[in-house]
């Protein structure tokens, strides 16, 4: 079973000073953290390495965070995405939820709250994977697939 220190987090934000410092603080809390600075970099990254949780900004140069979220979920529905933005509207929040976003937080967010949400997101993903594995072990492959792709 994966322990807390095994949680892989990808931070996506164009505010370099912010995201580098946040990354350092999350690493001090025993999370495995990588940082990228725009949506395109995030999509290239997850094609090579699949993080458990992505903390994603919305307003960035190039791709908007909502479009990045849509693409992430096309690549892997299992990656949990937490939006962390200084600009989010209620419409963005609803859209993020509809696209399978796990949580919508506004900057500046409390580090303890963010860590708690990352852990919750990871737990949900982990439990889903465990339940799916249990079904698959019993030969219920369709049910297992449905659990993993819960929105379908």
């Amino acid at each position: 079973m994966k322990k807390k220190k095994d949680i892989k987090v990808l931070l996506v934000d164009d505010e370099k000073a912010f995201v580098d410092t946040l990354g350092q603080r999350l690493r001090m809390r025993e999370l495995i953290v990588d940082v990228v600075y725009d949506g395109e970099q995030a999509l290239s990254y997850i094609k090579k390495i699949e993080p458990d949780v992505i903390v994603l900004d919305l307003k960035m140069p190039g791709l908007h965070g909502i479009d990045v979220l849509r693409e992430i979920k096309k690549i892997s529905r299992e990656i949990q995405v937490i939006i962390l933005t200084g600009h989010g509207t209620e419409k963005d929040e609803e859209e993020a939820k509809n696209l399978g976003g796990f949580e919508f937080l506004r900057k500046p967010a409390d580090i303890d709250l963010l860590v708690a949400k990352i852990k919750e997101a990871f737990s949900e993903k982990f439990e889903r994977a465990m339940t799916a594995a249990a079904f698959a072990e019993e030969g219920f492959f369709e049910q297992a697939k449905k659990i993993i792709k819960k929105e379908e």
């Binding site: 164009d14 505010e15 000073a17 912010f18 410092t21 946040l22 350092q24 603080r25 001090m28 307003k59 960035m60 140069p61 190039g62 200084g86 600009h87 506004r106 900057k107 500046p108 967010a109 580090i111």
Partner: protein, 219 residues
């Protein structure tokens, strides 16, 4: 009818400026919060090494920079706010354009477009409605933000000729759509007339140049 359209557009403009401002300030607060938080984390852990101290000093420097940036940004919004209150005032063209560019910088950065300022020094104060002039310049800036591909730039230039003050908005880069010039912008021609200004269109390097000559003695 033109008045109503312009009023709606003006409110839209103010709304955009406020959205960009709050977004930027939230980002800067987030940087400050994380920087202070990291210093706290290091101290709480009780194992501050010489290397950590160097890190703390660099965080303190970053905090200072963020405070300066935030203050500059707040001052720009403060001037912008004064322009909304004092609808007839003496003002420096360079200052109000600089405020506008500062407030819109993030909007341009999201499209990977940069602003380049070329302000002529020694331009005399003019009298009029600073917000309306910012609104007019904003219209042409925003239009170019829509027209330009990423990695382009917009030059915002001020100059003085014998009896006019000129504000040029010059797009540089690759265009995503064909420009219709300023000819179709009746409402903005109307606004310029109200400011005692005129708009001329130039097309060097395949782009457009908008000039807003203002009589230096304009009332």
């Amino acid at each position: 009818m033109i008045d109503i359209d312009l009023r709606t557009s003006e409110l839209n403009f103010i709304g955009k400026v406020l959205c960009v401002f709050t977004h930027q300030v939230n980002n800067q607060l987030a940087i400050l919060k994380e920087s202070v938080g990291l210093i706290g984390d290091l101290i709480e852990m009780g194992k501050v090494s010489r290397k950590d101290l160097e890190g703390i000093m660099s965080l303190i420097e970053s905090i200072r920079n963020q405070i300066s940036k935030t203050a500059y940004f707040c001052n720009s919004l403060n001037s912008f706010g004064h322009g909304m209150v004092e609808t007839s005032a003496s003002f420096a063209v360079n200052k109000i354009i600089d405020d506008l560019v500062c407030l819109l910088d993030k909007l341009a950065a999201q499209k990977r477009i940069t602003f380049k300022k070329e302000f002529k020094e020694g331009i005399p104060l003019i009298h009029g409605n600073p917000l309306k002039l910012q609104f007019l310049v904003f219209y042409f800036i925003e239009k170019n933000l829509t027209r330009l591909e990423k990695n382009s730039s917009i030059i915002i230039k001020t100059s003085r000729s014998e009896d006019t003050i000129n504000i040029d908005v010059i797009p540089k880069g690759i265009f995503v759509q064909v420009e219709d010039g300023a000819g179709g912008d009746t409402a903005y021609q109307f606004l310029a007339n109200n400011l005692g200004a005129s708009i001329s269109v130039d097309t060097p390097e395949g782009g457009i140049t908008i000039r807003l000559p203002l009589p230096s003695s304009a009332a």
